[in-house]
């Protein structure tokens, strides 16, 4: 039962099994025989084949170096790992937690086999001015991020020394506050065009980090860089004082309603991940709507019955979309 630690009643168990079996029937048609485990031989027709990620050449054989599904693109074979740790790709949007403030860089835990590095020079300065980083900036690093801050960034790539570098291209990246961080298996997050979502109706921001860390938090308006810039220019005296961290206006508390939405969305994701379903915006939103229509309290979403309902809903959704195709 997918390792779910809940006590189901017998009927619930049956219903869940039925829904899951139905879901299984949709997916099992694809690549069922292409799954491999470590050291399995992968059949390739010719030696012209390209051996991609997750494969190793041993003599004349190609073997899998991870457990997963063999994928082929033209002559390229690679193994798409199942339930693996997160494996970063350039351009991935990730959420991570600062574990160290080091010279000119922050170290982040991002659910990968090594820590990631965010260079001071890889993110915009708080004052928005384009300039080289100075020793003063370095001293002020702690005013930007300190240990245990949760931040969001983009994977820039591996440097020559093998370290993984991140970057924050624009204002929408950076520190995440007033919200909840969730950790789910990374393989449940699919790479998409959009990973940032602003859920207007709930006043909530939702970020699906490709590394399985998911942020649900109060919505923050990303300041329009250009407008800010104009203000700076026309008002040189004020620039410094207004943009100094800390002196910004007194933080107000997040309204209770929004906090409840945050938890509701977070729980929906938790249920999804407990059931082993891929998370995506639409199904999470449906789940939230379902919980609201059932008049469930936030905590009740984590009970067995709701799990079953979600599984049934997902089975229903997928079968209708199958039929439509």
């Amino acid at each position: 039962m997918r390792g779910i630690q809940l006590s189901f009643s017998n009927t619930q168990k049956l219903r869940l099994e039925k829904a899951l079996a139905q879901l299984e029937s949709f997916s099992s048609k694809l690549n069922s025989n292409a799954t491999v485990i470590v050291a399995d031989k992968i059949p390739v027709d010719e030696d012209a084949a390209l051996k991609g990620h997750g494969t190793l050449e041993m003599g004349n054989d190609v073997v899998a170096s991870v457990c997963g599904v063999v994928e082929r693109v033209n002559k390229l074979v690679y193994v798409r790992p199942l339930r693996a740790r997160y494996k970063p790709e350039i351009g991935d949007i990730i959420v991570g937690r600062v574990i160290e403030v080091a010279p000119k860089r922050w170290r982040l835990e991002i659910n990968f086999s090594q820590d990631a590095v965010l260079m001071l020079s890889s993110m915009n300065l708080p004052d928005g001015i384009q300039r080289r980083r100075t020793a003063v900036d370095e001293l002020n690093m702690r005013s930007i991020f300190v240990e245990n801050d949760v931040i969001c960034a983009e994977v820039r790539g591996f440097q020559h020394d093998g370290s993984l570098h991140l970057q924050a291209r624009s204002q929408k990246y950076g520190k995440l506050e007033r919200g909840k961080l969730l950790k789910i298996p990374p393989y449940l997050v699919k790479r998409r065009k959009q990973h940032f979502h602003h859920l207007d109706q709930y006043g909530v921001d939702l970020i699906f980090g490709c590394n399985g860390l998911i942020w649900v938090g109060e919505h923050i308006d990303v300041k329009d860089v250009m407008v800010e810039d104009q203000v700076n220019k026309s008002d040189p005296q004020n620039t410094h004082s207004s943009s100094l961290p800390g002196s910004s206006e007194e933080p107000t508390d997040t309204p209770l309603e929004i906090r409840q939405y945050i938890c509701r969305i977070a729980n929906a994701i938790t249920v999804f991940s407990a059931l082993g379903f891929m998370v995506n915006l639409d199904s999470i939103m449906e789940t939230v709507t379902l919980s609201l229509s059932l008049n469930l309290g936030v905590h009740e979403m984590l009970e067995a019955e709701f799990h079953v309902r979600v599984a049934e809903q997902e089975a229903e959704r997928r079968s209708t979309s199958k039929r439509r195709r």
């Binding site: 991609g52 990620h53 033209n74 300039r131 291209r169």
Partner: protein
């Protein structure tokens, strides 16, 4: 909404701007006011400039950099903008001193601890600027495809392509750069590479400022408006067409032996002297013989070579008059070399200079291996250089090119033969510039030089602070209308127009980044901006025309229109018939001298003629001539297909207008006018008579011509009753064509119809028809405007974007706007066709072939030129090439099926196998002279191809990384080490 645009802010609140600021007036011939410049500002919509701008603290502080000379107004104007922290577009002539502005921006950035990026279109220029800036500032780095020096420096010099890819990759430079300088930004109109500028400017960091340096462009304001809009910041325009050293323009007529001043240093065009120059042209008849044996190098050699050639005579004259150093521009590499060859008898240097040249030359060549030193190009060049003569074009070894540049700058080269590339960016002025030709081959035909090109190249004339004036000499070898000459010499600069186009690499990179959208890029492109801007104008135009059309009211419009259509039909049939009868095939045999010919009179008014017959007159044929074609293969055309003109002696009115343009009007014999020989197109013949007269050979004296015309009149009188006997098309001229017969019977039928029209009898019929004609013209104009309106209201390239995305989906590069494995591979490849190369790689082609074979195969991606007698690649390589062609074919087919406009054949044949063998040998370790013996190409071209190949390999290494194939990655690495050696990758002398 507050969409007001404050143009050209009141200057009153910007006291710091020097009084010399003046809006430039009509600049017709007014070179008298030399130091003016035009300053304007573009604000983004809704932007409210704050009043305190001029009171910025920077104003009081010291300038970031001071210069050893007093600044020109345009320079201080531009520097002011930079000091105020606002972007500026500087548009000024070659050598005007735009670099000063760049230097200031760099100094300011360094002072403020900000990074600054300087981009230029050409690697060689980047190398030189790197050196120049390094001497000045020291904290300078360089990144071109070939070299990377100190990439962490504060000031980075790079090519625009590198800057583009840094932005896609999100390098940290993009977060630290305060100023981005785009030098030679007019390169944006380059058909192939121009789009890189648009991408780079659109994607540039939002909080940085820009300095654009450009040649004079008439629409600098439009460009600045665009920048202001895209970056939501003000952008200044500083424009000047002032030349620090005034120019004099001369003509050297081919075959003649003197210079004629046609535009003086005040900018005045000298009519008389222009005519004299043309008269001194060796007349065509005498040139005939020469013309034949030198077909398309006409004029340059005119049959004579060496000391008798025009070029030799001219250079000699230049030296005698001490107009040296001189740059002679020509438009092909071969021509450049050929001309230099004619100078073999000329020695412009003394012994001291020779020794110096030899020292400089060999110390530069020192880095070459002994074998490479023996390359013919190297050893042949030295004797030439020692005599003070140089050659500079892209076919030279890069190192030779550089040594020649250095020698030229040191004044050791007195006469340099160069191609157009020498006119871009390098600061290498001469006293004199010679245009060895006034026509240029632009890929499919010969055309006149454009005034923009003329401006750019002539800008090399006149060294600032040394010469009090620069000299431009135009070698003219054919009759040239004064208007053409004027347009070329005094015309305006070329406008800066977008050359935007889509590429797969661009789309993939855009889709790949989280906030990138190809649609956004399109919407922000200069292309879209220009299209949008044209809209209101067009709409207004259409409206005015519609009003005008609706105001025209015609009685009995329907029947008039029917009559009108009938007339049109009749006339077009007549034209058809004449077209057949007087096609060269039938009429050439009858165009003998002396035959009387009936020709159309020149129309007096531009309105179309609505009578049934045209006004005609008579004359006598003197000769006929084939019109000189503009393209080379014209010579191979069959005589029937070529164009002819017939020279006819008849009565004309010859007039000269105020610019000295002659207009000749054919009038009736009885009218006042002079007897003259005019060249007429065959289409102007109305009919040929069977009568022939004997005409004197020499028609130069006016009396002779008058007499001849008298005879014509006599003949006409004699036949006045029965009408002139004409050659019958079928009986006499043997016109055998069914379409002729069909058309003539239709004409007869129509003629009878005219009778039926009552309206035709109206006395005002002609006027009425004219009005109707006007109305019809208006309608068709409106239609065409509406058509352009329709196409430009939609997002430019929208359909193509759709089609290309479709192709990417079908090939499996993207899915749901997410870039897949293959797409990631292709997004790394920007120096070769990304789709074909990706497919080839993923099909495993590179996996099990030898490294040398692979390199050889990749050479087809970097070589487009078709070589005359290139060596055929051996079988193994040939097979690989066939595989490449198959892949290309498939890729092209998918694109075609996805509705991308592509010519499959052309696409497939754009991959050339011509240097496969040479590159194979190079990868195998051959010496450079050995591979040169295998391919009939210029050394420089081959080197450029191999360097580009290395670029492609670097990109492939990244691509292999992204799919995780370590073996392949290692193979590409190995390939790099095999080709990256010796003279091909010799470091630049500037570094």
């Amino acid at each position: 909404m507050g969409s007001f645009k404050r143009k050209s802010q009141e200057f009153s609140n910007e006291d710091d701007i020097p009084p010399s600021k003046q809006l430039k007036q009509n600049d017709l011939l007014g070179a008298d006011e030399p130091v003016t410049c035009l300053h304007d500002v573009s604000y983004p919509e809704g932007y409210v400039p704050s009043a305190s701008t001029s009171g910025l603290p920077q104003q009081d502080s010291k300038p970031a950099k001071e210069f050893p000379f007093p600044l020109d107004p345009f320079q201080s104007e531009a520097i002011n903008c930079i000091n105020n922290g606002e972007s500026v577009m500087v548009s000024a002539h070659t050598s005007a001193g735009k670099t000063v502005v760049a230097l200031y921006a760099i100094a300011l950035s360094l002072k403020n601890n900000q990074r600054v990026v300087y981009t230029s279109p050409i690697k060689a220029l980047s190398n030189q600027k790197y050196r120049e800036f390094k001497e000045e500032f020291s904290d300078v780095g360089l990144m071109t495809g070939d070299v990377t020096i100190d990439p962490n420096a504060s000031c980075l010099v790079m090519t625009t392509e590198i800057w583009r890819s840094m932005q896609y990759k999100g390098s940290e430079v993009t977060r630290e750069v305060a100023w981005v300088i785009f030098d030679e930004v007019h390169y944006m109109r380059d058909r192939e590479r121009g789009v890189v500028w648009e991408e780079s400017i659109v994607m540039a960091p939002k909080n940085s400022n820009f300095v654009f340096l450009s040649a004079t462009v008439p629409n600098a304001k439009e460009f600045a408006d665009w920048v202001a809009k895209v970056h939501q910041q003000p952008c200044h325009i500083v424009y000047t067409d002032y030349r620090p050293t005034p120019l004099q323009h001369y003509i050297f007529p081919s075959g003649g032996d003197g210079l004629y001043l046609v535009v003086d240093d005040k900018g005045k065009f000298r009519e008389d002297s222009f005519q004299k120059a043309l008269n001194a042209l060796v007349p065509a008849n005498e040139g005939d013989k020469k013309r034949e044996n030198s077909k398309w190098q006409k004029g340059l050699v005119v049959g004579k070579s060496g000391e008798n050639s025009d070029i030799f005579k001219m250079v000699k004259m230049i030296i005698q008059r001490q107009y040296d150093p001189v740059i002679c521009f020509s438009f092909s590499k071969r021509e450049c070399e050929f001309l230099a060859m004619q100078m073999s008898k000329m020695d412009l240097n003394n012994d001291d200079e020779k020794v110096n040249i030899e020292t400089i030359f060999w110390s530069a060549m020192d880095m070459l291996s002994d074998d490479d030193k023996k390359l013919p190009q190297v050893s042949n060049m030295l004797p030439l250089l020692k005599r003070g003569i140089g050659v500079h074009h892209s076919g030279l070894l890069p190192i030779l090119k550089e040594v020649i540049e250095i020698l030229f700058q040191e004044g050791f080269i007195k006469c340099l033969f160069a191609t157009e590339t020498f006119s871009i960016g390098l600061n290498m002025p001469a006293k004199t510039v010679v245009f060895t030709n006034v026509r240029k081959f632009d890929g499919d035909k010969f055309r006149w030089l454009s005034s923009g090109e003329y401006i750019q190249m002539s800008g090399r004339a006149g060294r600032r602070g040394i010469d009090d004036r620069g000299i431009c000499i135009l070698m003219v070898d054919e009759k040239l209308e004064p208007s053409t000459a004027k347009f070329m010499l005094k015309g305006s600069a070329d406008a800066l127009n977008s050359a935007f186009h889509l590429s797969y690499n661009m789309l993939l990179n855009q889709i790949r980044s989280e906030d990138g959208h190809p649609e956004n890029l399109l919407r922000n492109s200069f292309y879209q901006f220009q299209a949008d801007r044209a809209l209101p104008d067009l709409e207004k135009q259409a409206k005015i025309l519609e009003e005008e059309r609706n105001s025209i009211v015609i009685e009995e419009e329907d029947s008039l229109e029917r009559y009108y259509n009938l007339l049109e039909q009749y006339k077009s049939l007549k034209r058809d018939v004449r077209g057949i009868v007087f096609s060269p095939k039938y009429c050439l045999p009858f165009l003998q001298p002396g035959r009387l010919v009936c020709i159309e009179c020149t129309k007096v008014d531009v309105d179309p003629n609505f009578s049934l017959s045209e006004e005609v007159t008579w004359g006598v044929i003197v000769n006929f001539e084939r019109v000189k074609g503009i393209s080379e293969d014209d010579a191979n055309k069959k005589p029937e297909d070529a164009n002819y003109t017939v020279d006819v002696l008849t009565r004309c009115i010859v007039q000269k207008d105020e610019v000295g343009r002659k207009t000749i009007k054919v009038v009736r014999l009885k009218d006042a006018g002079e007897p003259a020989v005019v060249s007429l197109p065959l289409s102007q013949i109305d009919s040929l008579s069977s009568v022939r007269l004997v005409i004197p050979k020499d028609l130069l004296p006016s009396e002779v011509r008058e007499n001849a015309l008298k005879k014509v009149s006599e003949v006409l009188n004699r036949f006045s009753k029965e009408g002139m006997p004409l050659l019958h098309p079928e009986d006499d001229m043997k016109v055998q064509s069914s379409s002729y017969r069909k058309a003539s019977s239709r004409i007869e039928a129509l003629e009878s119809l005219f009778e039926e029209y009552e309206i035709a009898k109206s006395p005002l019929i002609k006027e009425k028809l004219k009005v109707l004609h006007k109305k019809k013209e208006l309608t068709s104009k409106i239609k065409s405007i509406k058509r352009t309106l329709r196409t430009s209201t939609v997002l430019a390239f929208k359909d193509e974007l759709k089609a290309r995305k479709r192709a990417l989906r079908r090939l499996g590069y993207i899915k749901d706007d997410v870039v897949l494995q293959k797409g990631k591979v292709a997004s790394e490849i920007s120096s070769a066709d990304e789709l074909t190369l990706t497919e080839l790689m993923l099909n495993g082609t590179f996996r099990n072939i030898k490294v040398e074979d692979m390199v050889s195969l990749l050479s087809c991606f970097v070589w487009q030129e078709k070589l005359q007698d290139a060596q055929k690649p051996r079988e193994e390589l040939g097979l690989l090439f066939a595989q490449l062609q198959d892949t290309a074919q498939q890729v092209a087919k998918v694109q075609l099926e996805s509705k991308v406009q592509i010519d499959v054949e052309n696409f497939v044949s754009s991959f050339r196998p011509d240097i496969m063998e040479a590159v194979y040998a190079w990868a195998k370790g051959s010496k450079f002279y050995e591979i040169m013996e295998m391919t009939p190409v210029f050394e420089g071209s081959l080197i450029r191809a191999i360097r580009r190949l290395e670029e492609v390999l670097q990109q492939l290494i990244q691509a292999a990384k992204s799919i995780g194939d370590i073996v392949l990655e290692a193979k590409f690495e190995e390939a790099v080490t095999k080709i990256k050696r010796d003279i091909v990758f010799a470091a630049s002398l500037y570094l």
